[in-house]
């Protein structure tokens, strides 16, 4: 059975003030994919995610999310930004913030339904933040906030989940649990995770790509060492994950 295509990009270009940030990006994401995209800072990772969300318009190329344009399909896309720029004193509880994820499903002019509250409760349980649901969001640690934002993305019931450096402020002990959660999710949806840190791409991703304005991707978990070097512009030690024996490539 051919897996369902969730998103596709064809020759997508993006520019900031005439300077290209993405050059001719072409790839597809399918259901059950857990795609890790690595690349250096300024390589266009966040731009790529924002283009897939329809927050930034590409200067050229075509993007399809579940067969339509990104801004029409937003309610099927979950997103965890790298930095949430909110006021630390903002008067909202953890519960309020996660419930906001239901806005795309809730009816305009109406209050949230019991079903919305049920889904919110379950998502808070899943990320282990239920006990803190009455806390003010700004009082939490960075890692706790990140888990709240993960819950907020989960309650949107996405078919595609986009994560921008999601583990940056999460304790290593918690990371494993969250990765396992994400891996379970890929039974139903597709996940794209970007990170500048090669080590952050764990054994849990099942596909990998490199991005530095251009994208190197073979719809698999293999990356050629030359491509990694092209991406990072320096020799890189490559450790293959997820295989019984670890392979350490030598410097050429």
């Amino acid at each position: 059975m051919v897996s369902q295509e969730v998103a596709s990009l064809k020759d997508v270009w993006a520019h900031y003030d005439g300077v290209p940030a993405l050059e001719g990006i072409t790839f597809s994401i399918y259901k059950n994919d857990f795609l890790g995209i690595i690349g250096p800072n300024g390589g266009g990772k966040t731009t790529l995610l924002k283009i897939m969300l329809g927050l930034i318009k590409p200067t050229k190329g075509e993007i399809r999310i579940l067969g339509d344009t990104p801004d029409k399909q937003r309610k099927f896309v979950g997103y965890i930004p790298q930095h949430s720029l909110f006021d630390r004193d903002f008067p909202a509880s953890v519960w309020d913030v996660v419930l906001m994820g239901r806005l795309g499903h809730a009816r305009r002019f109406k209050n949230y339904t019991d079903a919305d509250r049920e889904i919110t409760l379950n998502a808070l349980k899943t990320v282990g933040m239920l006990e803190l649901k009455e806390s003010q969001i700004g009082r939490l640690s960075g890692g706790q906030q990140q888990r709240v934002f993960l819950a907020r993305a989960l309650v949107t019931e996405p078919k595609l989940l986009l994560l921008d450096e999601p583990m940056a402020s999460v304790d290593v002990a918690l990371q494993t649990g969250l990765y396992e959660l994400l891996e379970r999710l890929t039974q139903r949806i597709a996940i794209v995770m970007v990170s500048h840190d090669i080590g952050a791409i764990s054994i849990h991703v099942n596909k990998i790509a490199c991005l530095n304005r251009k994208l190197f991707y073979h719809n698999s978990k293999e990356i050629l060492p030359e491509e990694l070097e092209e991406t990072y512009k320096c020799p890189v030690q490559l450790i293959a994950h997820g295989v019984p024996h670890r392979v350490l490539k030598k410097h050429q």
């Binding site: 969300l53 997103y79 949430s84 006021d87 903002f90 008067p91 002019f109």
Partner: protein, 271 residues
């Protein structure tokens, strides 16, 4: 104070103060949590052009502020969202241009402009019944809009990008919020005047923000605080024969300082 209420102008002033408290208590919370105090200041000052327009057309100047305020709210919102002009520059330009238009309109109006000072600094003791009715209608509009779009406005204030991502029309909501601020300016003009409007839009909300982290409670508290400040200011200005608008502003400012001390003290005690 009780004997002062025998006078109709005092009763009207008190009603106007209560109506103003509702508008600035509710909308002021968004102004403070979304950090758009200076956009609101810009809208308020630009609305002076509407006062001038009112004089020029020979209508109630407050009625001139309504369309003018909404036009400046939409202009400032669209310029800051759709162009690369920095928001603070857009605010500064609109702020001064609106006021300049007002001055030109007034100078073009034959004769001398009565009560001009009252529109700039408030004249709650001379508020006519027609203005009270207008304030009541605008209050109802504000309450209705916030009631219907509460959850959308909460997400817009918290994280505009995420609101967009989940499909909330963030830009249109933001423009609507700025229009609500313009309506609030109209409600507040008679109480504290255009120059001082920004006080009632910020101080009550800023005080309540220190004591709760629920947006709904914050609105409730802000309305109560503004009602207390306006009543207290009104009474002081009546008994000490001081200008009402400025007295209300000073009472609010002093209470804000006191709230800072209470906050520090209570934090020290509860730790």
């Amino acid at each position: 104070m009780i004997e002062a209420l025998q006078y109709e102008f005092m009763r009207n002033a008190l009603i106007a103060a209560m109506l103003a408290s509702v508008a600035c208590g509710i909308v002021g919370v968004y102004v403070v949590v979304k950090r758009i105090v200076f956009i609101s200041g810009g809208i308020a000052h630009a609305a002076f052009g509407g006062i001038g327009l009112g004089y020029f057309l020979g209508i109630n100047p407050v009625l001139g502020v309504l369309p003018f305020g909404i036009a400046s709210a939409l202009t400032i919102g669209l310029v800051s969202k759709r162009t690369k002009l920095p928001e603070d520059a857009a605010i500064g330009i609109l702020w001064a241009t609106g006021m300049a238009l007002g001055v030109i309109f007034i100078s073009l109006t034959p004769g001398y402009a009565p009560d001009l000072f009252g529109y700039l600094f408030g004249s709650i003791l001379t508020v006519p019944l027609s203005d009270i009715i207008l304030m009541l209608v605008l209050d109802l509009v504000i309450i209705l809009v916030i009631f219907l779009l509460y959850k959308e406005f909460l997400s817009l204030s918290f994280d505009e990008e995420f609101a967009t991502v989940v499909g909330v029309p963030a830009q249109r909501l933001y423009l609507l919020l700025l229009c609500l601020i313009a309506l609030t300016v109209v409600v507040l003009i008679r109480v504290v005047g255009i120059i001082l409007v920004i006080t009632l839009l910020t101080i009550p909300a800023a005080i309540s923000k220190q004591f709760t982290h629920s947006l709904k409670k914050m609105m409730f508290l802000s309305v109560l605080f503004s009602a207390a400040f306006t009543t207290c200011g009104l009474w002081l200005s009546y008994s000490l024969d001081l200008p009402s608008g400025a007295t209300i502003v000073l009472v609010s400012g002093i209470c804000f300082l006191i709230s800072l001390f209470i906050r520090r003290f209570s934090v020290a005690v509860f730790r």
